[in-house]
Symmetry: C2
């Protein structure tokens, strides 16, 4: 059973990504170490004792649609109730609307633990937080007054309605229509798919944020507007009014996250008797500027998905480690007890477990470094603010794509450690793999993250920002070299090589982009993102080992001597691979 | 929908692994190219038209247990009937018992296609073939007369009963008991788990091969005997007699291969009214020599699982390629048509598809090279026979582990290419990933394959056999270099480097084994197996490209310039990784 790794998360925040030093400098004036520890402890307790035990029933029963109403799995409604009563939904919410206004670091930390407990559960509140952010930043005061407090507390939940059958990665293809009404409201007509928690029984009302197009809007992404469309209209006194013209027409049968209802939503179908057809909605931000509103929360949403990868990897590692210490087969030189050896003694099983652990910790460090940058940006001004905002921008695609890729890899290794039992659903290892598989896809596929990294993040500040970041990573390698500490083996050399690979590949891609050789840049994007993540992750492991020693040093060395060498091949693929890709790629295209 | 890649398989056999040259030399006297082509064509037609369409219903409905009887999915019994009527079960069976006695190459080729059509379907006959082999090689004439003809035709099916709850990878821990009876028969008592097709409605009788232990047997693996235990006893005239004391007590709820019933089998529980308890069985081979009987068919069984990896990868690639040509999102420089570009035009999607294709083809070449070696061994005498037997032994762990590893990887990439649709079960991409995940586990986990490669296969012929094989691969690289053909980019250089990595790592591990540094050998086994497979697979892709040019050259170059560089990091992990693994591994062991 999952046990929240509170100490590991606290260590990562304080000693790897820099929170301790920042607290000592007084950068986060409202925060001190005791508050951080207390919140992590309490969130960890709730994730361990309340969320994780609900996972299996959620996976097994799933959410069910009947007569346009969705019933969540047994016990889940009560779990959600306890969760909002604990104040967990309000953790990051704005203080003006009842939130605790805590930094992103703590929000992400809590989110990691909820997701390890049950990704299908944590997903709903993640979307509510996105809705809160969009409304707070872009909606009118009237909308804020009506909706924000209840969304912050979790009394109502929020959703994001972007995807349509023909418009997934390419939102320019959206067709959902919006019509203006004289009273300042709009009417929405169209179909949205893959709407997470689009309908459920957790809350009395559901606040949908819907992307749609006005009839006179420009084509493409510059003609998309964002609307707030509640399931039940809200009366001036805050009570619920009539049902809005929208409903859930179907649930997807998915590989994983069964408890999370993935809805097809129909807007404006004339489903409310006696009312004119059209779902009543209100504009958020300006007309035709809907995508800009979405982009302001995209970094946070992507980081929230990235942490899902870390969360699944952590849960899979814990489960595999426990099994490997319990299951006995064969003999092993390091086992001197009676009978068969626990399989954790076999070197090949150790390799798998250490690989799982190292990948989890590298991805975790990248995600928390990203959250830390977000918080620093919020606390800073001027150039400093831009610096930290660019840092968050840079790390977001790494956090999203690398973490969710390794989430799948680590969950798959977890199945393997369990042997035949891993393939049996009762064991729960396979369920983690099934859940993990969505994270590299949604909130921008990992391919799109890689493209974003190369085409939009590397050019930040004329290309300087990323190089400054890599220089910081090099300083970690230099600190290791100068420390003369024992136990690191050839870690310093390997990290130096990896960072040299990263610089070469970075400058190559920056040149491709600046010279408009876009196909070369696009071809190298995915191996570059992995190269970047491994090198950055390796540096973070070193920083942790320098701070703590012991098993952190041993794991860091394992990572360097067994896994970090991959960067050379990735660099080669980035710098020399595009031509052969373009050549062979032609053979894939149907006549 | 899957379409059997008959030409690709025929090309691999003839031009990559050497069948064409062998036929011209007259090595397979009974075989000619026309026969090979005709069988592949017909098997391909059946796999495409009959097996593949049954996959989805099989996955959705699964097999169901009620009153100790298992009902297979709708239409599956009829499919099996048509399949045996087509003579497909008898393809490799001994001619003396009605089989066609065709070489392993063709058996594996057909098996690839059945598995691409539906792995859950192909799995049953795979086990029957194993039973046929064990009985033919080791059973008495009387047993052969009674059982072989019906098992060869497929009128009855066979199973393998090895695993018990405490005995998976380590068969020494077996507890199922056998007792001698005066009439030469035995009575079997015990519980077996994970028994594939242990009970079903395809055939009137099921012939179980069961590993069990006599009371006076030595401990460990030298005290295990193999028994034939039919579901229904067989009368002297060949008709079915009374029910034997065995039954299916449960089906596992699994991640994938839902249609394949995975049974808990109870032997000797007194389940037949009016009969003494004990399942009636007959010895195969000698008492306490059961594992030796199993080992004679282990290579073939492992290759049969390896080809499952290739089969799933092929099916996943075809599905993803079709989707990428159909689905449109965004713009791409290589697309000049109207509207959004088919996503196959995006370089990042091309990278994923080419990676899938290249991995599929490398694994396929390794599997067919292994089958070819088996057939050469069968056709040869003396030293030549030993050479080819050692070749088959060497390639078996690569075929099993590398192919099933890439089966999972390619199926996962296939889900990714589908974007959000990939996570929806209806699409079928996720089902391939679910099915693929068992293959790295059963028939000896891939970790055990790697250990087998390093500790038992590298020392063959005093260490010379593997070096001879690598020299053959080097000759392919030299042929490429000498050819001066265009379009290969830096393939020759990269392949030379990969083979140099392979030689270094091989000699290092040989030294570890010969000096008894076993933990170092065990630590490096898994990265070594992948290094070996990539290098060998790269050489095979070159051989195919030298023979055919065109898209094979382009894919070969893509593989070399984007994927083969990984060997350097793998070599490093093999040669320098053991110490850090042992150090960090200690931290995993519970106090």
């Amino acid at each position: 059973m999952y046990r929240a790794p509170v100490e590991d998360i606290a260590f990562t925040l304080k000693h790897i990504v820099g929170l301790k030093a920042a607290l000592e400098e007084g950068i986060f004036s409202d925060l001190d170490e005791d508050v951080v520890d207390a919140i992590l402890q309490e969130a960890g307790r709730f994730a361990t004792d309340e969320v994780a035990p609900a996972r299996e029933a959620g996976d097994r029963n799933g959410s069910v649609l009947e007569n346009k109403a969705v019933t969540t799995p047994p016990g889940w409604k009560e779990l959600y109730r306890r969760w909002i009563e604990g104040g967990w939904n309000a953790l990051q919410g704005p203080e003006a609307y009842g939130g605790q206004g805590l930094p992103a670091m703590l929000g992400v930390a809590a989110l990691e633990m909820w997701n390890s407990g049950s990704m299908a559960f944590a997903l709903g509140p993640t979307l509510t937080m996105g809705a809160v952010e969009a409304i707070e930043k872009h909606a009118t005061e009237a909308l804020k007054r009506t909706y924000l407090e209840k969304l912050v507390s979790g009394e109502w939940m929020g959703t994001m309605n972007l995807t349509e059958p023909q418009a997934g990665s390419d939102l320019a293809a959206l067709r959902t229509r919006a019509e203006r009404r004289d009273d300042g409201s709009y009417r929405i007509f169209g179909q949205k798919i893959f709407i997470t928690y689009g309908e459920h029984d957790f809350t009395d009302n559901i606040v949908h944020l819907v992307l749609a197009r006005l009839a006179d809007a420009p084509e493409g992404t510059r003609g998309i507007s964002l609307f707030l469309v509640p399931k039940f209209l809200v009366e001036p006194d805050g009570s619920l009014g009539r049902r809005n013209d929208l409903f859930c027409a179907g649930l997807e049968e998915k590989l994983g996250i069964h408890a999370s209802p993935t809805c097809t939503m129909i807007y404006g179908d004339g489903s409310v008797e006696g009312e004119e057809a059209g779902a009543v909605g209100w504009l958020i931000g300006e007309e035709n500027r809907g995508l800009a509103c979405m982009f302001t929360m995209m970094n946070n949403a992507r980081l929230a998905v990235g942490i899902q990868g870390v969360a699944i990897a952590e849960a899979a590692f814990q489960k595999a480690l426990a099994y490997a210490n319990e299951r006995r087969q064969g003999k092993a030189s390091s086992y001197h007890g009676e009978g068969m050896a626990p399989i954790v003694h076999h070197p090949d099983i150790q390799r798998t477990l250490l690989t799982m652990q190292a990948l989890t910790q590298t991805a975790r460090a990248i995600c928390y470094a990203c959250a830390y940058a977000t918080d620093r940006a919020r606390a800073a001004e001027g150039d400093d603010k831009q610096h930290w905002q660019e840092r968050a921008n840079l790390l977001t695609p790494l956090a999203k794509a690398f973490s969710t890729d390794i989430g799948v890899e680590v969950a798959s290794m977890g199945v393997q450690v369990h042997g035949g039992m891993g393939f049996i659903e009762e064991t729960g290892a396979a369920a983690l793999l099934r859940d993990a598989r969505i994270a590299p896809i949604y909130e921008g596929t990992n391919g799109i993250q890689a493209i974003d990294l190369v085409t939009r993040k590397l050019p930040q500040s004329g290309g300087d920002h990323v190089l400054t970041y890599i220089a910081e990573l090099e300083a970690i390698a230099a600190e290791l070299r100068n420390s003369n500490l024992a136990g690191f083996g050839i870690t310093a050399n390997v990290l130096d090589e990896a960072l040299a690979d990263l610089i070469e590949a970075t400058q190559f891609l920056q040149q491709c982009v600046s010279e408009g050789r876009m196909d070369e840049a696009l071809a190298g994007a995915t191996p570059y993102l992995r190269l970047f993540s491994l090198a950055a992750g390796g540096a973070y492991l070193v920083r942790g080992a320098l701070a703590a020693g012991g098993t952190r040093t041993a794991l860091c060395r394992f990572f360097a001597e067994n896994m970090l060498g991959e960067t050379a091949a990735l660099k080669r693929s980035v710098m020399d691979g595009a031509d052969s890709l373009a050549d062979a790629g032609k053979g894939l295209i149907s006549a």
